[in-house]
């Protein structure tokens, strides 16, 4: 059999927002451009490596945010790839529904969109390949799609593409779109299963040794649970088996750093501690989340604007998280027979009540209420201890 070379990508999420990562729009805009650039890189790789086709396993774009400009961009990119074929299996973010560009716009002839909630096949006899795909026709699909997949004919090399959730390892906070068990892939004459939905690149352990199943991962990380470089998969299926190479195409990677600030009394110490990560997490094209922990001296003034200024050029952006603990022993203070002690006791009880009600199915207000009480306790004790009330 002549080797078949193709690219497997998924979860591009063109036009996605980065509000979840707490990035400002100026940086969000740069990230979105980076996503586009990563996608261009993927298609360039397909041209350069003379791939037979490209598989997009869902979430190519976000339907709620897609603009005519994005659609034109995709059309132009796909058209420029011709005659290389592109197979798109719509996912939950880009379902094949009314109002979707998949449905409403004409696409270049080399693009095939699987527009039905059933597995459909396209045969490429010249390559000896049959591409079988499944498309979402709604924003949420919880059917077990691989149960609907019959055993495919073994006359051609079968490649399957779909947006689905491996229920064996569901990442935290991820919805179960198109759930399946890896066992459902076995015995259906599949050589390679191109999956999307989970944003980390990984291989599935399918009981059937002949089946190779992969999540391609995101080309450009969009949340703090997607730290590190993003990329796509370059695959080659031949008589010798399936060879899968993970390739990096991300530009602005997300990284997290935790700085313990015990005993810190100046901002310089924070800067010094962060600069120790230079070359690793701290790089000019990285977006950093810096979590400050520990109990610093009361003199430490975390003026983040000044810290940003001091670290300008060291990385693209820093999102600061103030998890510092005040240098106050609430328990000891609460033991005092003073107003201060009484105040600490009262608010401690309020917080405990809030925790109890929150733990017992409290409303969404509970965390906010707890935060308010925490702050009230801290500010009140600062004031009663004769210190300036410094807002967090």
């Amino acid at each position: 059999m002549k080797p078949v070379r193709f690219i497997h990508t998924a979860d591009i999420h063109l036009e996605t927002g980065f509000s979840g990562a707490g990035l400002p729009s100026r940086l969000g805009g740069r990230k979105r451009e980076a996503v586009r650039a990563a996608f261009r890189d993927i298609l360039d790789a397909a041209r350069r490596e003379k791939a037979d086709f490209v598989l997009v396993a869902g979430d190519l774009f976000e339907l709620g945010r897609v603009t005519p400009d994005t659609v034109e961009f995709l059309k132009q990119q796909f058209a420029s790839l011709a005659p290389v074929r592109v197979f798109v299996a719509p996912g939950n973010h880009d379902p094949f529904i009314k109002g979707s560009p998949y449905k409403d716009d004409p696409w270049p002839g080399n693009v095939h969109v699987f527009g039905k909630e059933e597995f459909q096949s396209v045969e490429l006899p010249e390559a000896g390949v049959r591409v079988t795909g499944f498309g979402y026709a709604r924003p949420f699909f919880d059917g077990r799609l691989f149960q609907k997949l019959p055993a495919l004919p073994d006359d051609l090399c079968n490649i399957v593409v779909a947006h689905a959730s491996d229920m064996g390892r569901v990442p935290e906070g991820k919805s179960a779109q198109g759930p399946f068990e890896v066992g459902e892939l076995a015995g259906k004459n599949i050589r390679y299963c191109a999956l999307g939905h989970y944003h980390r690149q990984r291989r599935l352990q399918v009981p059937d040794a002949g089946v190779e199943a992969w999540y391609a991962g995101v080309p450009e990380g969009s949340g703090w649970d997607e730290e590190g470089p993003g990329g796509y998969l370059f695959c080659e299926v031949g008589d010798g088996g399936v060879r899968v190479q993970g390739r990096v195409c991300s530009r602005f990677d997300l990284h997290s750093v935790e700085i313990g600030c015990d005993g810190f009394s100046t901002r310089e110490q924070v800067v010094e501690a962060l600069l120790r990560h230079r070359g690793a997490e701290l790089q000019p094209n990285h977006i950093l989340r810096v979590r400050l922990t520990g109990t610093p001296e009361a003199s430490l003034d975390l003026a983040f604007a000044e810290l940003d200024e001091r670290l300008a050029g060291e990385c693209l952006y820093i999102r600061w998280e103030d998890r510092l603990l005040p240098a106050l022993d609430f328990e000891a203070i609460a033991g005092e027979k003073t107003l201060r002690g009484e105040f600490a006791r009262f608010l401690g009880e309020c917080i405990a009540d809030c925790d109890a009600s929150g733990g017992g199915g409290g409303t969404a207000e509970s965390p906010f209420r707890r935060e308010v009480l925490e702050r009230a306790r801290r500010y009140g004790l600062d004031a009663l201890s004769g210190r300036e009330v410094r807002l967090r």
């Binding site: 036009e15 996605t16 927002g17 980065f18 509000s19 979840g20 707490g22 990035l23 400002p24 729009s25 969000g28 805009g29 979105r32 709620g64 945010r65 603009t67 005519p68 400009d69 009314k98 109002g99 409403d104 015990d262 005993g263 109990t295 240098a327 106050l328 022993d329 000891a332 203070i333 033991g335 005092e336 027979k337 003073t338 107003l339 201060r340 002690g341 009484e342 105040f343 009262f346 608010l347 906010f368 935060e371 308010v372 009480l373 925490e374 702050r375 009230a376 306790r377 801290r378 500010y379 009140g380 600062d382 004031a383 009663l384 201890s385 004769g386 300036e388 009330v389 807002l391 967090r392």
Partner: protein, 934 residues
């Protein structure tokens, strides 16, 4: 708890110090820098340890640990024995320092008690906290009374505030009011919905604006979906119309097929007809070549030859007439040759100009000469009048006006001078008389004094004054003689003044005479003039003299004008002569002579002849040109005729005839054949029109193509007849509708493309909104938190006041009333204001009215009372007083020590001081004294 004693191993400057305390009143005496503060810190360190109490998770040293490292290298630490509330004695053995921090708690029996105490994560055992119920900070603020706290008690208000602070916060310097102020300031900084310049409202507004923007962007997306539907619907409509239009065009195709079939049949018929005509023309025969198309040409050439003959004759006649006229003009030109402008060397305009100038100058010259004569007559008349004037007025250089003015002026001056001279003379005469009198007086006095001197000497000598010594008489005589000499000398000076006055008087007389003479001389000339002219007074004379002067000036003007007129007449004559010479020369060149009298006639003759000469020359030139033109025309027409004749000969020869008539006869014979050819051509044109540039074969191919197109249709259309108006209308209507729909579709496509123009990407807005909401949530949390803190502190403070006041009342009453027996009740209000009742009168008095000593006692009573309330009731908390009485006088010290002595019965007191007078008071109160060496 009672501190029994112990040992300082090493702590700052203290080393090997053994401590012994009594259970009640203790006094630690040491001079300044003697180690009092060090010992205090040692005790605090022994009780609470070296680790920072606010970081119980971490082993971070308190700042003092480094400061109190032993100076002499002794072990950093110490031993402290305490008796607890239950009577048990325990021993604390501690070491300090970064590597130290060990605490060993043992009972008096030696048993380890460390396990009985809670151990924090930093390793600290909570010994003092357990027994006293006070964390280290609170112990420091309540259990240690420092100098500053007591010294600042200036008045009752200060006491009340401090007690309130202690009662509320456990620290005298921390007031609830200030704490609330800090929180309110922070809340003010955050702002509210009604403060548009504060962060809270700004964050709220920003979030609202971003939400609105997001909603707009989402609305745009909704519109976009609708517009996409419109676009797709229009695309479907366009496709449908295109299909219908294709159907209509197919029907048209069927009709056109039929029409093409008919066209092909017609073309075949025409082709057949053309072939028939060609055959008939061939049968008519053509008789060889005949230039039938030259028929008209020959007629044209024939007519042209006739016309040329006619025009040639006319031209020749004109030429003869022009030649005759040219001869006549030549004769005339020769006759007028001398008047040619070139001969005369001037043209008519110049001649006319010269003549006009000459005439004008001549007239002006005559006018000037006439003026000259008139002026001469006038001047002669005036000269005669002037000659008739009196002799004295003929002198022209006498300015009579000036003489008159000067005479008047000088007369006035002389009058003044004569008056002044007279005054001077009178004054000089008076002075002379006075001087003379003076001179006489001095002279007489001198004579008298001389006589006295002489008489005195004489009388002495005559022995009249024998009782007067001689020297006296001589002296008196000498004095009189001296005075006489002086008077005489003065009289001589007065005589010189008299001579001077006489000389001055003489000069004044002479001056007066000179003035009078000058006046007489000035007036004599004018008097003569008036006499000669008969004028009665000076004014009349002056008028007469002025008239004479005017006539003289007039005469001078006339003489001047006569000169000017003469000069002008000479210049005009010169210029007139110049023009005359030019005219005379021009006339001479034309053969004419002139004198000024006939100049005008001769000039007119010259100009007339010059004009004639010019006209003749012009006509001669015209005739010459006309003759040349006629010559050219005759030659040209002759040539053209030859050419036409040659053409005619050639055409006739080509038709093999000799005359045009023969040619026409032969042409008629050939006419019928041409008719047939013409018909053939007409049919050919018809064929070409119908075939539209396509061959018959081409039409047949097209028909076959149409057949193929029609055959390809599954359901052939039963088409209308070709060019059916209804079908064409339907097709046009469909095309128009299709065009409209296509335009709408294009607009819809563009609208879809521009749907998000002017809107930021939704992701951008969401990101900004998320940040704005995060900021707002933070500010909202802060605002609510500050509100909660404020409200809570207010409520707790109020409740605490209400609760503490009665307890404090009891604690204070116990202490205060025992010492101040003139009062029988103390009341502590919720705001910690204190009033006391006088035992004698039963009146309540505010504490502010108490004496200073009583106020001090009240302060200490309340402090100790609060310490009771805050610390564990089962374990009286020892109290350290660090130089609390630095500012006290002896009376206040006595009052304070009463209070301390009383309090020492309840708790252990350790007073640290450097004042020696306290030693005596301590001794009186049975206090144990510990002296620290410097």
């Amino acid at each position: 708890m009672i501190l029994l004693g112990g040992k300082v191993y090493g702590f700052g400057k203290l080393a090997g110090l053994v401590l012994e305390f009594s259970p009640g009143f203790n006094l630690v005496f040491a001079p300044n820098e003697g180690g009092k503060s060090t010992l205090q810190h040692f005790l605090l360190g022994m009780l609470y340890g070296q680790w920072r109490p606010d970081l119980k998770q971490q082993r971070r040293l308190q700042p003092w640990v480094e400061r109190y490292k032993p100076w002499n290298g002794a072990e950093y630490g110490g031993l402290l024995r305490c008796r607890l509330g239950d009577g048990q004695v325990v021993e604390l053995n501690r070491t300090f320092g970064k590597e130290g921090g060990r605490l060993d708690i043992r009972a008096a029996t030696g048993g380890d008690m460390s396990e009985r105490y809670e151990r924090q994560r930093n390793g600290e055992l909570l010994f003092a906290e357990t027994h006293l119920g006070l964390p280290p900070g609170l112990f420091e603020s309540l259990g240690v009374i420092r100098e500053s706290a007591v010294a600042d008690i200036g008045d009752y208000e200060a006491i009340r505030d401090r007690i309130a602070n202690l009662a509320q916060s456990g620290n005298e310097d921390l007031s609830v009011k200030q704490a609330l102020g800090r929180l309110e300031a922070a809340l003010e900084g955050v702002g509210s919905e009604r403060a548009p310049t504060k962060p809270y409202k700004q964050a709220q507004d920003l979030a609202a604006a971003l939400k609105a923007e997001l909603q707009e962007a989402r609305d745009a997306r909704m519109r976009h979906v609708g517009w996409v539907e419109d676009r797709n619907r229009l695309a479907d409509e366009v496709a449908d119309l295109e299909r219908r239009l294709a159907g209509a065009r197919l029907a048209q195709l069927a009709a056109r097929r039929r029409e093409t079939e008919v066209r092909i049949r017609t073309l075949e018929e025409l082709e057949r007809e053309i072939a028939g005509l060609r055959e008939e023309r061939a049968q008519a025969g053509d008789g060889g070549e005949f230039p039938a198309d030259s028929f008209e040409k020959i007629s044209q050439i024939e007519g042209a030859l006739q016309n040329l003959d006619k025009y040639l004759g006319e031209a020749r006649e004109d030429k003869a007439k022009v030649a005759a006229e040219l001869g006549r003009l030549e004769e005339e030109r020769l006759r007028l040759a001398s008047y040619d402008a070139s001969t005369v060397a001037a043209n008519e305009e110049e001649i006319t100009g010269w003549f006009v100038s000459w005439l004008n100058l001549t007239i002006r010259r005559d006018g000037a000469q006439k003026n000259q004569a008139d002026l001469r007559a006038t001047a002669d008349g005036i000269a005669a009048d002037l000659d008739a004037l009196p002799e004295i007025l003929r002198a022209p250089d006498v300015d009579w006006q000036r003489l008159g003015r000067e005479a008047s002026k000088e007369e006035q001056q002389l009058l003044w001078q004569s008056r002044a001279a007279r005054d001077d003379v009178a004054q000089a005469q008076a002075g002379l008389a006075a001087v003379r009198r003076g001179m006489l007086w001095w002279r007489m006095l001198g004579i008298v004094l001389a006589a006295v001197a002489v008489a005195a000497v004489a009388l002495k000598l005559g022995r009249f004054f024998e009782q007067v010594p001689m020297p006296y008489v001589l002296g008196a005589a000498a004095a009189a003689a001296a005075l006489a000499l002086a008077c005489l000398f003065a009289s001589f000076r007065w005589a010189a003044a008299v001579a001077e006055a006489k000389r001055t008087l003489l000069e004044f007389d002479l001056n007066m005479k000179d003035v009078q003479e000058l006046k007489d001389r000035k007036t004599s000339q004018l008097d003569i003039a008036m006499a000669q002219t008969g004028c009665k007074d000076m004014d009349e004379l002056m008028a007469f003299v002025e008239d004479c002067a005017a006539r003289r000036r007039h005469l001078e003007d006339i003489e001047a004008r006569l000169g000017e007129e003469g000069l002008a007449a000479a210049q005009l004559q010169e210029q007139a002569d110049e023009y005359y010479q030019k005219l005379s020369a021009a006339l001479s060149r034309a053969g004419l002579t002139c004198v000024p009298a006939n100049l005008q006639f001769q000039v007119d003759a010259l100009r007339t002849n010059m004009r004639l000469s010019r006209e003749v020359a012009a006509r001669h030139a015209d005739c010459t040109a006309r003759l040349d033109e006629l010559d050219g025309r005759v030659v040209a027409m002759a040539k053209e005729r030859e050419a036409k004749q040659a053409q005619m000969d050639a055409l006739l020869e080509g038709a093999h005839v000799s005359t045009p008539e023969e040619f026409r006869a032969e042409g008629r014979k050939r006419g019928r054949a041409a008719g047939l050819a013409e018909k053939e051509e007409s049919r050919a044109r018809e064929f070409a029109r119908l075939s539209e540039g396509r061959t018959l074969g081409g039409w047949r191919e097209r028909l076959a193509e149409m057949d193929r197109q029609l055959e390809s249709l599954a359901d052939p259309v039963e088409g209308p007849p070709a060019d059916d108006p209804a079908t064409e209308r339907e097709e046009r209507a469909l095309a128009e509708e299709l065009s409209v729909r296509r335009e709408e579709h294009v607009r819809a496509v563009e609208r879809v493309r521009q749907a998000f123009a002017g809107h930021r990407p939704v992701a951008d807005i969401e990101e900004d909104l998320a940040l704005a909401e995060r900021d707002f949530a933070r500010l909202d949390a802060d605002r609510q938190a500050l509100g909660v803190a404020l409200e809570t502190i207010r409520e707790l403070a109020l409740g605490r006041q209400t609760e503490l006041a009665p307890q404090l009342n009891a604690a204070v009453s116990q202490r205060f009333l025992r010492l101040c027996q003139q009062y029988d009740e103390v009341r502590v209000a919720p705001d910690f204001g204190v009033t006391v009742r006088e035992a004698a009168t039963g009146k309540m008095r505010p504490a502010a009215h108490l004496s200073r000593g009583a106020q001090d006692q009240l302060y200490f009573a309340m402090r100790f009372g609060i310490l009771d309330l805050v610390s564990k009731s089962s374990e009286p908390c020892p109290c350290l007083l660090d130089e609390p009485f630095a500012a006290y006088d002896r009376f206040r010290l006595g009052e304070a020590f009463k209070m301390l002595g009383d309090e020492a019965e309840r708790r252990q007191l350790v007073v640290f001081t450097c004042r020696e007078e306290l030693l005596e008071l301590a001794d009186r109160n049975d206090a144990r004294v510990l002296r620290l060496a410097k």
